[in-house]
Assembly symmetry: C2
Homo-oligomer: 424 residues x 2
């Protein structure tokens, strides 16, 4: 049977390609010719709705953008405004009292204990999470802690380095590198990790065959219709866990960090902004302006399709009116922050500038992808990013080495140990 | 060459089907078994995020739902609240003064003149539209008017019964029936029609080959990120045209109607709510609760995929917190209203009840699809709509005869002529 499937697949690839080739001959466009969305009218107005939206995107001025001319006092006022606005945009629900989190199981592993818990963030909801507790800590000898947010479709189990609950959840690529929560535990941190909504244990029917291809679009959309968002849900669940972590006597509340890989950097930003008592932030993704990215990625395929927006879980309605990611991260100054996968150098320098204003220059560390760590290898530092790019071209402008996107424990963990004075 | 394509297509269909069949054998589920999203926990809580969202959808209570116990005074207060909230949700931009609309061309046709205009609703934007002006009208002899909103991917040209600007824009199915704007002109109305955003003349690269398959998801998404929405944009463009129509001396401002087919019923609802000086409303689609529909359409395919949400242009973030479509339409009482394609009878009766409260029972007309006009043929009137349906099953519950979804000129036009005292 398997051979037949392979044969059919092969035939489909061959015929499919020929078929696509023929379709292409029927109607293709020159991507170069159409890569910039432009108007041929004397008044510059757009008849195409896509053009009108592009015009709006080019001209949007986020009202709470970071201003490098801020005095320290102005910065603090602005920081509060950012916090208030993020709180508003996240629309965390007011919930009646819920049961306390419950310990489900515990298991000794080398150097730490793995506990599985569940928390009840809102009516109808239970969120499982893992807590890895290093040996030898207690109320008398509390440890620093890290709350970790996984990459997009990576489970809490793989992030903690334990077996998947279902073999279908496994993603082999960079599996070892992405055991973020495990690395923290091995290095003396109480390490807590939850799933992104809809992933792994929190998925729906995907465990019956489709995982790790998850449908998060449908419920993300319904959340929007209900005035919420995927990020709001994700951050809210993290927030409830963070609050609970602070109640544990073996955690040193003056040393709680947050760590996010890839998609996980989004709830990370939200929680870091909302909670000044998060004392260090590990941001493991490249830094860029999402508005700019959406505005420049306009180069169509030969069949006339421009790059799609990222998936709906990234959408927080109206966020672009207020700030972009570099502004949000700049507002964290002067709290200890590491960015481990570089990004647009102009934006990174802007964030550094915020730390300078707040006298926290020693609190920010920035690493690039190894490939781009040497400025000589960066092709477009400080270059204006033009419209008309496809995704790959855009990534070149912001120094992203796509195949090597993984949790950079080698820089993140030593940095965090140093910040929190964890003796090896 | 064409023969080769056909051959390849045929082979792909054969092999593709065999391939899908094999995949199916590898991992399929029983749709019946999983059609209801349920929790197997004693506390009824959901681990799956899709389950949590389902729980929220089941329990949402729109704050401005129509209450059939309203007194006339309470109804009027509520009606104002609905208007204020719709205004808030639509987020029409404040724009600096724009140039006046411009006449581009005019052409005499049998019984009326076809004019093409363009309007400048906001900076960067120009929106073309058609106006059909019946013979013999003037400032001394003004005519009633109708502003029409097309079905989803139907152009203003086809809706006005004129040649497509590009043969690719043509949709043959129900072409004749959907010439809504033409029918109104032929019957003595000044008839104005614009494209839905991103369709036909307002599309992007689709004219080079993909039309009538349009990409509206990407720009709809960016509109959300900017705090707006596809419906907001669409309604705003219609609103600017409506305002301008009122300035024309050959239009009788006491007899302006609005007419929408399918997707067009959404901007129709918005404009009708916002403008009490729209004097009659032709709603050409079935009526239902979108929240309920999303909540019951949960039956997965054999490969474990539940029905997707409708496309992103339908999303107005937070709308579900306030009302559903039947509430919005109920708020139009007692203005003349016709619903031409029935829908959920309980919801239609609720709307009728609003008209009763407002002493406008003679102002509302409801027609079902011909197939369901006789109540004997309606399978599920007043029946509770259970969760676990696929789209086709849902349509049975709300009396939708999908293949016959088109503009019902045969009931809409005579009704409107009667309302506005138009002599044949």
């Amino acid at each position: 049977m398997k051979k037949i499937i392979y044969l059919i697949t092969l035939l489909m690839l061959i015929f499919g390609d020929a078929y696509a080739q023929n379709l292409k001959n029927l109607s293709t466009i020159d991507p170069e010719e159409h890569k910039i969305i432009s108007s041929d009218r004397a008044d510059g107005r757009y008849v195409s709705s896509r053009g009108v939206v592009q015009y709006m995107m080019r001209n949007i001025q986020p009202q709470l953008a970071f201003n490098p001319k801020f005095s320290k006092e102005e910065f603090k006022e602005w920081q509060t405004e950012v916090r208030t606005k993020i709180e508003e945009l996240m629309r965390f629900p007011e919930v009646p009292p819920q049961p306390l989190p419950k310990l489900l199981s515990k298991k000794k592993r080398d150097g730490y204990t793995l506990e599985k818990w569940e928390i009840y963030p809102q009516p109808g909801s239970v969120v499982p999470f893992l807590m890895l507790i290093p040996d030898g800590i207690s109320a008398e000898n509390p440890a620093p802690a890290v709350l970790s947010f996984c990459g997009s479709t990576r489970t809490k189990e793989s992030t903690a380095g334990v077996d998947e609950l279902n073999p279908l959840f496994l993603k082999e690529k960079h599996y070892d590198n992405n055991r973020m929560a495990m690395f923290y535990a091995e290095n003396g941190f109480v390490s807590v990790v939850l799933d992104n909504p809809g992933i792994g244990e929190t998925s729906d029917l995907e465990k019956y065959g489709r995982a790790p291809a998850y449908d998060r679009d449908t419920f993300s959309r319904y959340l929007l219709d209900m005035g919420w968002s995927y990020l709001g849900l994700s951050a809210f669940q993290g927030q409830q866990i963070f609050k609970w972590m602070k109640s544990l006597d073996f955690i040193d509340n003056s040393r709680i960090a947050i760590s996010g890989h890839s998609l996980g950097t989004e709830p990370l930003m939200v929680l870091a902004v909302l909670n000044p008592d998060i004392h260090a932030i590990v941001f493991n993704d490249f830094m860029c302006r999402t508005i700019k990215r959406a505005t420049v990625e306009t180069k169509p395929t030969e069949t006339g399709v421009r790059p799609a927006a990222n998936w709906l879980g990234h959408c927080v309605p109206g966020l672009w009116n207020w700030f972009d990611y570099p502004d949000i991260v700049a507002s964290l100054a002067p709290r200890p922050l590491i960015l481990t996968e570089g990004g647009a150098v102009a934006d990174l320098d802007l964030i550094k500038y915020a730390y300078k204003i707040m006298d926290g220059e020693e609190n920010i560390s920035i690493y690039h992808y190894p490939k781009y760590q040497d400025p000589k290898n960066r092709l477009h530092d400080y270059e204006f990013i033009p419209e008309g790019l496809d995704m790959d071209e855009y990534f070149q402008y912001v120094n992203v080495d796509v195949p090597n996107h993984y949790f950079k424990s080698e820089v993140a963990v030593p940095w965090l140990k140093n910040i929190f004075n964890v003796v090896p």
